[in-house]
Amino acid sequence: MINLNKAWVIVKPEIIKLVKSYHWLILLGVGIIIATPFGWDQEKLTVFNIPLEGYYGSRETVYISLLHELFSWAWIYIAFDVLFRLLLPLGDSFSVSQLLWLRLTPCSPVDIAVARGIWVIAYGVLLGVLGLIWMLITSLYYHVFSTNLLLDALGLVSYIIFAGGMIAVLDFDLEFDYFSKRVIAVVALFFPSLLGLVKLGIANLIHGEYARFFPYTHPFAMLTSENLYHFGVAGILGLCFLGFHIFSKLKYQTVESLAILDDESTTR
């Protein structure tokens, strides 16, 4: 049976570290500052009144492209940050060092798996919320708003949950050594984006109707409704991976004492 209280106790230090980190606030602040020096001279996008080439279209279209591009750069930075702060530690959470002592405390294998799930989801949600705040502030600043911009925030959340879910579902157990775990964490970092390339490669093989359910998520993706499906499916798949990881632990148990050892010896 899942004990959410125990799962929370296990994951709490990681969540506190995540929420209390000034790193994210600095990133948000820098992101907002970088997005502010742009202007519109009736025809072109400018930065400090210097015209910027490469942005064409109406004022709204240009600003949306600009915000999308800035968000995508931030996404790349965040992805590498996620590698060091989430994916590598998540892989390490299967190591003997991290797990042995916890196995000898009054919690269940499922509680530990739920804690991993909470950790990944909390990470994704926090960065998604920060992305939304950035979108909201910059959109209001430039008086533009497009629901398509929300796709970027969704993509980032899906990205984190998909990559984290991948590591959880692989369940390193005792099979992988320290180096292998690190390699897999790096693969997980690039995998959601690589799937975008795979989709391009096999586009002709997948029936059109189902092609939009092919999971991938990466920065600089077009802000189209089609990508809403790709990002959404990637996120749902990541959640399924986490769910499977938790479900797979149900076969293990907390061996409390001699009392539960065999049914024959009980005189209940």
Partner: protein, 292 residues
């Protein structure tokens, strides 16, 4: 934590762990480390395991922790097959599993106080462990003195103290310790040994104590086994006919027949707490039924 639907007599018949005809060799080695080893430990029993370096003592611990699996034979812990995926809150462990290089028995990237807090919070959610007082043992092991340190930065002695706290504070039914006093100073060693003795005496815990130090094994355990060339051999604890002479004007030379190791400790304790004694001599002859 003891069940109330099993009678005590039935319970005591169940071993805390049991190795039956276990053979084991590492995948990349032709050397059979354990050759049809059988060993079981019942509640209240204390077993010492001695042997040369690399003879396979720690491998038995790894098998019990689920880090390795026997090639043949059966291995049960609390009556169930040992699996790495299972959790064992009634098992206390002090040692260094050395599974992969650099991997220790404690997590990294966390402060000691955070680790202790998680441990206490998890224990406090259990009805049976809710009212445990951790303060005394925490103070005795001087854990608060390195609360602010990262667990990965602890010295070996501090790490052993922390492991001893995690293992002993929950009053486990079974304690397995592998060179548990390595790296400890004299005071730390004494604290850990006395806490283990307290656990054995007050809580009837089963203890498997692995050490190359025969004095520790003799102090803590009732049965001693030696692992030699993959086989487990029981060491008979000998009795000695002893004579102790002191320079105390109050006491005459004392003679003890078939003195056990506990008795020898007791006799020595009496000498060491008697301020009138400045010099003593102890001689012993293996017991053969003849008086000194």
């Amino acid at each position: 934590m003891q069940p109330n639907f099993l009678t005590d007599s039935r319970l005591s018949q169940q071993p805390l762990f049991e190795l039956k005809n276990v053979t084991f060799s590492y995948a990349n080695s032709q050397n059979q480390l354990l050759d049809h080893v059988s060993l079981s430990l019942f509640p209240g029993e204390t077993i010492g395991l001695i042997g040369e370096n690399g003879c396979g003592k720690s491998t038995i611990i790894k098998l019990l922790l689920g880090l390795c699996f026997p090639n043949n034979g059966t291995l049960n812990l609390f009556g169930r097959k040992v699996l790495w995926g299972n959790n064992y809150p009634q098992l206390g462990y002090i040692g260094d599993p050395s599974y992969y290089p650099g991997e220790l028995g404690l997590p990294t990237g966390i402060l000691v106080k955070e680790l202790v807090q998680i441990f206490k919070s998890l224990c406090q959610q259990e009805k049976e462990l809710k009212d445990l007082s951790y303060l005394e043992i925490e103070e005795r092991l001087q854990i608060p003195s390195f609360y602010e340190s990262d667990v990965s930065k602890l010295s070996k002695g501090q790490r052993i103290r922390l492991m001893a706290f995690l293992a002993l504070a929950k009053k486990p039914q079974l304690l397995i310790a592998d060179e548990a006093t390595e790296g400890l100073d004299k005071e730390g060693k004494e604290i850990v040994l006395s806490e283990v003795q307290r656990l054995a005496n007050c809580h009837q815990a089963g203890i498997l104590w692995i050490s190359h130090r025969r004095d520790e094994v003799a102090r803590l355990t009732d049965k001693v086994y030696e692992l030699f060339q993959g086989k487990l051999q029981k060491q008979e604890l000998q009795g000695f006919d002893c004579q102790i002479e002191t320079d105390s004007p109050n006491t005459e030379a004392r003679k003890y027949f078939n003195l056990s190791k506990d008795g020898a400790f007791q006799a020595l304790e009496e000498i060491f707490t008697d301020s009138s004694i400045h010099k003593f001599q102890m001689t012993g002859v293996m017991q053969k039924g003849e008086n000194l």
